[in-house]
């Protein structure tokens, strides 16, 4: 029994050691600015099209669904409010993070995993660099910056999707939709929550990707395994943490 628990406990401990090291390095020299920029490009710009598409369609479908429900109470005019609240609080952060987990937690895991199995990580240490400083911290910073940004974009594009549905099918005026959408948002409850979530999710996506990548063993097969595991673990953690953060704000 104890033996069964030993491995997961050690892994969790290892994960927190990595997290501690990566966070500490943010304030330590040397800083690898080029690597941060490169990662921001890969994570942010690379994910933009898919985040825009997902945001748009989920906003649009939310508007359709909610308008049908609201019609029973004669409250179709409040569609904007419901769309903006669900997007900013929940759908924007979670869908964006799950998308980025699918693209980048697995991408990071496979990149670092192949570096691990081809001894590039060892070479890095032998040649005087700390792999955590050189590889993990830039990915953490880049994700931490880009994921909130992508979330804001997804939120906004989603509202645009809801607005199009509103004016095309629900007989709402543009003014009606946007003022209801805008007035619904409260600073603390919605905006802070809507931005705290992507920051936490970003830490999860980046660190889980790096963690599984750096502990890869067993050649190219091992890289494949690490990639899947990172994606699954990051996605599950996003939903668990989403519940916990929501509990704080509600």
């Amino acid at each position: 029994m104890l033996d069964l628990l030993k491995e997961p406990v050690l892994a969790v401990q290892e994960f927190f050691l990595l997290a501690g090291g990566a966070l500490r390095n943010i304030f330590r020299k040397p800083h690898y600015g080029d690597d941060i920029a490169l990662q921001m490009d890969a994570i942010g710009v690379g994910s933009l099209p898919i985040v825009v598409a997902i945001g748009f369609f989920s906003g649009a479908v939310m508007a359709l669904q909610m308008a049908a429900a609201l019609a029973q109470y004669g409250q179709v005019g409040r569609t904007g409010m419901i769309v903006s609240l669900t997007l900013v609080r929940e759908l924007g952060p979670v869908l964006t993070a799950v998308m980025v987990a699918g693209r980048n937690a697995s991408g990071i895991a496979s990149e670092l995993g192949s570096m691990k199995v081809t001894e590039q990580i060892d070479a890095m240490r032998a040649l005087g660099t700390d792999p955590v400083q050189k590889l993990v911290t830039p990915r953490l910073l880049a994700t931490g910056f880009m994921l909130p940004l992508l979330t804001i974009i997804a939120d906004f594009v989603g509202m645009v999707g809801g607005w199009l549905i509103g004016v095309m099918y629900l007989n709402l005026t543009t003014r009606q939709y946007w003022s209801s959408a805008w007035r619904a948002l409260e600073w603390w409850k919605d905006v802070t929550q809507g931005l705290a979530k992507p920051v936490v999710f970003a830490v999860v996506v980046a660190l889980i990707g790096c963690f599984y990548g750096l502990r890869t063993t067993g050649g190219t097969q091992g890289v494949g395994r690490a990639t899947t595991q990172a994606m699954v673990a990051a996605t599950i953690l996003i939903f668990v943490l989403d519940l916990m953060i929501t509990k704080i704000f509600v």
Binding site: E119, Q120, A123, R125, L127, D130
Partner: protein, 272 residues
């Protein structure tokens, strides 16, 4: 002939390295002195790579002590090891060039990142070119590792290892997976580095003939090729044999070739 100084450059004292309870090295002890060449023979999985990584402080022993340049690596933290590692050049088995960097950036990497090297910016490029000329790859600065053949990658990795002129070179199976002609080119570079820079050399291999070249050939800088060392010219080559993590032989070529041990004679007899 290099003098034997009294402190070894590298010393293993009863070193045991284990992964998940499985020993990869068991009670290994040896000392390597300045100017010496060591050839470490062993079958796949016998712990050769682990031995070199332990010498660099990349893996920590369960027990025993490893000293390099008079410093006890086992007592040092990761951050303190970089100055010692800067004095060792390592050729990793599969080259371990950084995929995301081109050859010039790869070879410049230790000059730019090893704190104790202190290479002025304007000297980085000339030193990279010099190192790549040394391995006869002067034309490939802009290429990426994926665009090179296995032998060329190995040569670029040698350039990256020697660019800082380390006094100790570690080679992990430099000829593994190469055709005989390419393998000979790589061995010629190993000998050339040893004889032109007077580097202490530790080479891990599963091929006896690589050890034979190491022990009996020297680099002729006038003709730019290897030649048989003249009789009586001591090249200070010691052979070591690893078997399942244990050091079962240490000594000169004569004793190695005379050994009755079936595991050892398998290496010696299997000349291609």
């Amino acid at each position: 002939m290099p003098e034997r100084s009294d402190t070894p450059i590298l010393k293993f004292e009863d070193v045991t390295v284990a992964f998940d309870g499985e020993p990869a090295l068991e009670n290994v002890s040896f000392e390597a002195y300045e100017g010496e060449s060591r050839v470490i023979l062993g079958a796949a999985g016998s712990g050769k790579t682990v031995l070199l990584k332990a010498a660099l402080g990349l893996v920590k022993p369960e027990s025993g002590r490893i000293c390099a340049f008079g410093n006890d690596l086992t007592a040092m933290r990761e951050g303190e090891l970089s100055d010692i590692r800067a004095k060792m050049g390592m050729l990793f088995q599969e080259s371990a060039l950084f995929d995301s960097l081109n050859i010039e950036e790869n070879v410049a990497y230790p000059l730019l990142n090893q704190r104790s090297i202190h290479c002025p910016r304007e000297q980085v490029h000339p030193r990279v070119v010099e190192a790549l000329d040394f391995v006869e790859l002067g034309e490939t600065l802009e290429k990426f590792p994926s665009e090179l053949s296995g032998g060329m990658r190995r040569r670029a990795a040698i350039a990256r290892a020697v660019v800082t002129a380390p006094p100790l070179m570690l080679y992990d199976s430099p000829t593994a997976g190469l055709d005989p002609i390419t393998a000979h080119t790589i061995m010629a570079l190993v000998i050339k580095e040893r004889d032109t820079a007077r580097t202490t050399t530790l080479m891990v291999t599963h091929r006896f003939q690589d050890g034979n070249v190491m022990a009996n050939f020297r680099y002729n800088s006038e003709q730019g090729r290897l030649e048989l060392a003249r009789n009586g010219e001591a090249l200070h080559t010691t052979f070591m044999v690893l078997r399942e993590g244990r050091l079962i032989f240490e000594g000169g070529q004569d004793r190695l070739e005379a050994s009755e041990d079936p595991y050892i004679s398998r290496f010696v007899k299997h000349r291609e």
